[in-house]
């Protein structure tokens, strides 16, 4: 262990709060890093790290998966998706299974790949599954604007984008979830800055620290939270200064709202959250896959016994789900939290299955 980390760990232990506290790490990348580096072994026992709803694949309702599959079945379309969504089970099938049956489903790393494919294959109808939080939404907005400018007529997005701060408020209102502080995602704040979290500190008196993703970043952020808790104050602080500015990236935010308006959105496990989603502005509606490819889907239903909902809210840990590691495993995922590389169940399964 290097000396900086040793000092930080020592100071965490010397300054630990006198009562048990729950810190929610909102972002799936934080969840993964905490598990992978075994950070729970380094922090005082009365600091409980709980995972939040910050994995975009995990919070996408099963109905959306069913909807996309139905479009693939009923229309002659080429679908482009990020890899994480590929194996998430819908009610009856997954994109992975549909590809095996011959549907044209492709994994891509950027929405630009999908648009380029559409330009090069004008006889094909191309749908990009637009998923993700503030980090990826600007990319989608840029691509939609490009498609508009270039008058592309065979490109569509299936929009499931969601906004982070609005979901956190729901968790604070929910009485089942006891949260003393938030470890906020650095990448999201690289876009939106720190201000959108102010209401959490001001109205709910919950400390927020916007953190980077290296183990040192996370430990330092936890230390900053502890200082606030010990002092009895609540602020929004930025630990990830090398990337995040208070005002964020206004150009990227403007790009989002040139293309989208805020709307309500359903989160898996959390339900409908007002103002937590985005819909295409009227001008860009012609790129909306849902309106262009209408389908009827049979009833969508959560897998029996799956606790992803409570896990996403931080009420339960993955190991408290009856299916976890018995039936639900990375090679046979039942819920989305086991599929995504950022899902809490995948993190716990891979890195914390057995306590050493």
């Amino acid at each position: 262990m290097n000396n900086n980390i040793k000092e930080l760990v020592e100071s965490l232990n010397n300054n630990k709060p006198d009562h048990k506290i729950n810190i929610m790490e909102v972002c799936g990348t934080h969840t993964m890093a905490i598990s992978r580096y075994g950070l729970r072994q380094l922090i005082p026992e009365n600091i409980n790290l709980i995972s939040g709803p910050g994995c975009p694949v995990c919070v996408t309702p099963i109905g959306d998966i069913d909807w996309i599959i139905e479009i693939a079945r009923q229309y002659d379309v080429s679908i482009f998706t990020f890899g994480d969504l590929f194996r998430v089970p819908g009610t009856q099938s997954s994109l992975y299974n549909e590809k095996s049956k011959g549907k044209d489903i492709n994994i891509c790393y950027s929405p630009a790949d999908a648009l380029d494919f559409a330009k090069n294959n004008p006889d094909k109808k191309v749908i990009f599954i637009a998923i993700g939080f503030e980090t990826t939404i600007p990319l989608t907005s840029v691509i939609v604007k490009r498609a508009y400018k270039e008058k592309t007529s065979n490109f569509y997005i299936y929009n499931t984008h969601k906004l982070v701060p609005e979901a956190l408020e729901l968790l604070l209102v929910d009485r089942e979830v006891k949260i003393d502080a938030f470890l906020c995602p650095g990448h999201v704040s690289a876009i939106i800055g720190s201000k959108p979290y102010s209401f959490i500190a001001d109205d709910y008196h919950i400390p927020c620290v916007i953190s980077g993703f290296e183990p040192m970043d996370i430990l330092e952020s936890i230390a900053m939270i502890i200082v606030q808790i010990n002092k009895g104050i609540s602020d929004v602080e930025i630990q990830y200064r090398r990337v995040v500015r208070e005002e964020g990236n206004p150009a990227a935010v403007n790009s989002i709202y040139e293309v989208f308006d805020k709307s309500d959105s359903v989160w898996r496990g959390l339900g409908n959250i007002p103002g937590s989603g985005l819909k295409l502005k009227k001008k860009f509606l012609k790129f909306d896959a849902k309106t262009h490819f209408p389908v009827k889907i049979n009833k969508s239903g959560e897998p029996h016994g799956c606790e992803c909902g409570d896990i996403l809210k931080g009420i339960k840990k993955p190991s408290e789900c009856r299916l976890f590691s018995r039936i639900c495993k990375p090679e046979n995922p039942i819920g989305p939290c086991m599929v995504s590389s950022e899902g809490s169940c995948a993190a716990y399964y891979k890195y914390e299955k057995l306590k050493v």
Partner: protein, 353 residues
């Protein structure tokens, strides 16, 4: 090389050039074109005393030693990648599987499934790469086969190789020999092959300098065997990466293992790409990495021998066998924390070998 009824079409030694530009179905129909492909192309690269006979089976002289025998098929996409190609891969893969027994290489077979319209220029590039890999190891192709399938029925070129080697009677390398105290050695950085393949696929839109580690490890293994007769197990860490191989060996030997994250070399760029894509280098394929279990008293001797070989310059001791057990792999992280490596976890990766 081909069935006997077609032999009349083939004359082993000639000066004729292979002038066709693309592979056609007739190159696989056993007729004149097949004959031209074999004698004017394949034998130009691989001709030797045994292969030139073009018999249905090669006849090899063996003593009464133990024989090691393995086979492997190769379907990698893309077929050319930084650091190698499907041809080099097909020879290295089989050689590296063979030498894990401690054997001396005897002979290798080479079979192609070619897609109609595959460019002969690409085929020649692959043949020449196979040739130079063989030259590196002084191994000969002694038998083989070529089939051509309709366009769309295969993706460009698939290769199957199998190989045999002879094991000296005093060599006994197997997971059962692994015991508590053994040191675990590795000959260099991990995850180069898998990430090199990923980064040169067309859907992956950014350039990297990552090069596959694809290499024949026969000379490395013979240097190790010359340095110590207490090598207990060898395994090349291909699909599933280092983690999967460690798990296999721990299970097979009924031991628990500690490995040290900071001792396992991962190139900076490989680390970066893994972080970006959410992959764990420990589970990503290698094509030139040998994991060695050796008695602790000989560990340094073997390490020095490995470091002197061109494929072992970055060799390290990465861990040790701690005790008899159920096959747990405990990773000591760079922070000094511990976690158990999961055996079943595998990354979803495209065709990497």
């Amino acid at each position: 090389m081909t069935s006997s009824k077609n032999k009349k079409n083939i004359k082993a030694y000639n000066d004729k050039k292979f002038r066709d530009r693309i592979i056609q179905l007739s190159h696989g129909d056993g007729g004149i074109k097949t004959g031209e492909l074999i004698s004017n192309l394949l034998l130009k690269y691989f001709g030797n005393e045994i292969l030139n006979k073009l018999e249905d089976s090669a006849v090899l002289n063996c003593s009464n030693k133990k024989i090691a025998y393995t086979t492997d098929s190769f379907v990698v996409n893309p077929i050319f990648f930084p650091g190698g190609d499907i041809g080099k891969l097909s020879i290295c893969g089989t050689i590296n599987d063979l030498v894990t027994t401690g054997c001396t290489l005897l002979a290798i077979s080479l079979s192609f499934i070619l897609e109609e319209s595959f460019p002969v220029s690409d085929f020649k590039k692959i043949l020449s790469s196979i040739k130079s890999t063989l030259d590196d190891t002084k191994l000969h192709i002694v038998t083989g086969d070529t089939k051509v399938v309709e366009k769309g029925s295969a993706d460009k070129i698939f290769i199957n190789t199998s190989g045999i080697g002879l094991i000296d009677n005093d060599i006994d390398i197997s997971p059962e020999k692994i015991k508590a105290g053994d040191k675990i050695l590795l000959n260099g950085s991990i995850a180069d092959h898998g990430t090199a393949i990923l980064s040169c696929r067309k859907e992956f839109n950014f350039k990297t300098n990552i090069v596959s580690d694809c290499a024949p490890l026969s000379s490395l293994v013979s240097d190790m065997l010359a340095a110590s007769n207490k090598i207990h197990a060898l395994r090349d860490a291909t699909r599933g990466g280092l983690a999967s191989i460690l798990f296999e060996l721990a299970r097979a030997s009924g031991t628990n293992i500690n490995i040290y994250e900071d001792k396992i070399p991962v190139k900076k760029e490989v680390h970066g790409i893994c972080e970006f894509l959410g992959l764990d280098p420990l589970y990503i394929a290698n094509e030139g990495k040998m994991v060695v279990f050796v008695d602790r008293n000989d560990a340094d001797k073997v390490l020095q021998a490995m470091k002197k070989n061109k494929y072992g310059k970055d060799s390290r001791i990465i861990g040790e066998v701690t005790e008899k057990g159920e096959g747990l792999i405990i990773l000591i992280t760079e922070l000094g924390t511990k976690r158990i490596l999961d055996p079943q976890y595998s990354e979803q990766l495209p065709r990497i070998c």
